[in-house]
Symmetry: C2
Subunit: 428 residues, 2 copies
């Protein structure tokens, strides 16, 4: 057969690669004895089985409701659910929610929040366009950006999250280089960040949006606020309003959430609340992807929310995850407090803790620490997976992302014990 | 705000437009009194409500099965379902199914077959690549091709479906023009075609695949076989093997089906059976779209098939659609047999009949016939929506696509009566 494979594939297909994380997932299957602090999966035991059965029974026993769920939906998604999502957003913002210029027409339901990330990229990005990305950042999204041939520039983080001063400096540099016009958006994971576990502080949110507003007077670009873990904040003493709540004219912030974490990944339903200017382009694009995500799942989620079962489930979920996080953090305190150059984040919720080791320790998949850990039976995600190559920036190799959501509290403790043992051997 | 909207949008977004069919759908909502012979929706009354309730009950009452359905699935989709789909394909091929070189690894489950159409385009098409398309063709897919900036060239049809001699001539012309290398695939809707209702005859299938095989020795390209209506063939006296069954090495035919028509659109689940060379590129691309479609829906479909409920439902569906089609065809016989230059197809199943009027009649949305029909309360899809602009080809304006799936048999008869009345006035 003449003509090799690459010849027939599109430029986009040739830019698309399997993630190295696939290797880690394969390892987890091969080594069921190992404790995985790697996978960002959700806890299997706490999936809402009884709530879902009750909703399916109610819905499918009512022929009109059943047929509505089994028929075609619209590209934008089930309107009653979109209306509820706006009310729910406003409620969670506290006083900041008053006067937000949003309604159901700004919501687009998607196949998980990943589809919305993809749609935003496809609507905004041509090859060589620039995306500003936290350092470190959500690695799956970095793969998506690669599909579009985007250039990524990193913005540093500190304990309060993404640094506003560094964002300002980056934009100044781009302006001087005549490249400001290529900046399409800044990506931020604003609650219990993947991978760092950090939640942007309230004051940092304001600072960031001030920098954004100032530069947007010169050049339009968007903030892509990934709030995937907002419903998994289980320790906040006060309401933490979204970046979206600071976008009073609904012009600059694309807001994303998903039901995969707070409800069930099997529903594969997420959504975006979009600036007015992006609603039509995203819907046109989604129309050609699939003309609407699974209507049945949207009707089920609407019923879970309407009946109060989703909120009750969320309380149970918090009660399940909190002791896991506390077990992991407690074990880190016990096992690693004495180690020089070792530190970690203390997340308000979510699924992740970011561990920093002395700079001489290499945490990569092909490095000595990972091998020691594999021997002892514990898996983690190397921090370098969360950095993208960029001129003038050497991605650090001394970080680790730990996920505590799937293992039991005891397994979390045992996993940290094994990791600490490997680390002490490596540091000796 | 400086920088207008278009400036920020990607080239792909700027190529993406709302379909003119949206106008028709809006009309159908505005005029609930009108009989719609336009929408290709499925019959609301025959949705599998009780079957779905039974499957949900069984699945969600078993905690292990429930959790498996509510968790993340894989990008490729639920393996037991993929295995069943291969067995089911082979069974339906009759003797031609023996020795087909296919297994579950060649199946990719998607968010309806539309997502597979989109993925195939994104994996194969760069702007100005060529797609060979029946004349007329499925209009939603023509919109998708426009997103990718593909050039489309039409292949004529006759009563047996797509013409193999015209395909051969087209490829010869492209070869002479030095453009053979830009041809990425030929699209064919092989059973109860949308929009014509025609099913490719068995001998035409062989002729087409002979032409394809001959040219593929020179230049690799694919056949995209859209078998969306295969399960809705309700009148075939003999098995009609797929084009896929003639692709013995699993090298040339991309085969698509959907559960939207035979089961329920709300499940938004379709699938492709892919040539070996395309599996990895499609999975990589799908990974960045959504890393897998709704797992819950896939588990439900698997149970519907395993339990025999899906096949039982299909028998009911055939029993519901057959009298609708017969009512429409009977009314056409009664109302239009005497009209010179008027003819129509007699489909073996599916949802569509293709009506040809005298060439002087313009069926377009802004033409006089459509207006008369609107006044009388009947809607149809103008045939010109199913043709794409192409140098040297004037799209005919004297066709109509009629859909009989949603209206009752009586409404189908009444719809044709109104249409015939409008037509007689127009011809007078």
């Amino acid at each position: 057969m003449p003509g090799d494979k690459a010849q027939l594939l599109s430029a986009q297909a040739l830019r698309t690669e399997s993630s190295p994380i696939n290797y880690l997932m394969a390892l987890a299957f091969e080594r069921p004895d190992a404790i995985s602090l790697a996978a960002g999966f959700v806890d299997n035991e706490s999936l809402p089985v009884t709530e879902m059965l009750a909703c399916c029974r109610e819905m499918l026993s009512d022929p009109a409701a059943a047929r509505a769920a089994l028929q075609y939906g619209t590209t934008q998604g089930h309107r009653p659910l979109r209306e509820r999502l706006i009310r729910r957003l406003v409620d969670r913002e506290g006083p900041a929610g008053e006067g937000m210029a949003l309604d159901a027409d700004h919501v687009v339901l998607t196949s998980g929040s990943q589809q919305m990330l993809f749609l935003i990229c496809s609507v905004l990005l041509d090859p060589d366009d620039i995306v500003l990305l936290p350092r470190p950042a959500y690695f799956v999204f970095m793969d998506t950006l690669r599909v579009f041939g985007a250039r990524t520039l990193g913005i540093d983080m500190d304990a309060e999250g993404l640094r506003a001063d560094h964002l300002d400096r980056r934009l100044t540099e781009l302006d001087r280089a005549g490249e400001l016009g290529r900046v399409k958006f800044l990506y931020v994971c604003s609650y219990c960040d993947n991978p760092t576990g950090l939640t942007l502080s309230a004051s940092r949110r304001r600072e960031l949006m001030e920098v954004v507003a100032r530069w947007r007077r010169r050049q339009q670009f968007y903030v892509l606020e990934d709030a995937a873990y907002r419903d998994l904040v289980y320790d906040a003493q006060t309401v933490i309003p979204s970046l979206k709540s600071l976008d009073r004219g609904n012009a600059s912030v694309i807001y994303l959430e998903t039901f995969s974490k707070p409800l069930a990944p099997g529903l594969k339903t997420g959504y975006g609340i979009l600036p007015t200017s992006l609603v039509a382009p995203v819907l046109d694009q989604k129309g050609s992807h699939d003309f609407g995500s699974a209507n049945l799942c949207q009707h089920l989620i609407c019923r879970l929310l309407d009946s109060g079962r989703a909120d009750e489930h969320l309380r149970q979920l918090h009660a399940a995850y909190r002791p896991k996080r506390d077990a992991l953090l407690g074990a880190l305190d016990r096992e690693m407090s004495g180690l020089a150059g070792v530190s970690w984040t203390r997340p308000l919720g979510g699924l992740y803790v970011w561990l920093t080791l002395p700079t001489r320790i290499n945490t990569d998949l092909d490095g000595p620490l990972f091998k020691r850990c594999l021997d002892k039976g514990v898996l983690y995600v190397p921090g370098s997976a969360c950095y993208q190559g960029e001129p003038g920036f050497d991605a650090p190799r001394n970080h680790i992302r730990l996920s505590f959501g799937v293992p039991t509290p005891d397994e979390n403790r045992e996993g940290v014990r094994r990791l600490a043992q490997a680390l002490r051997e490596e540091m000796a």
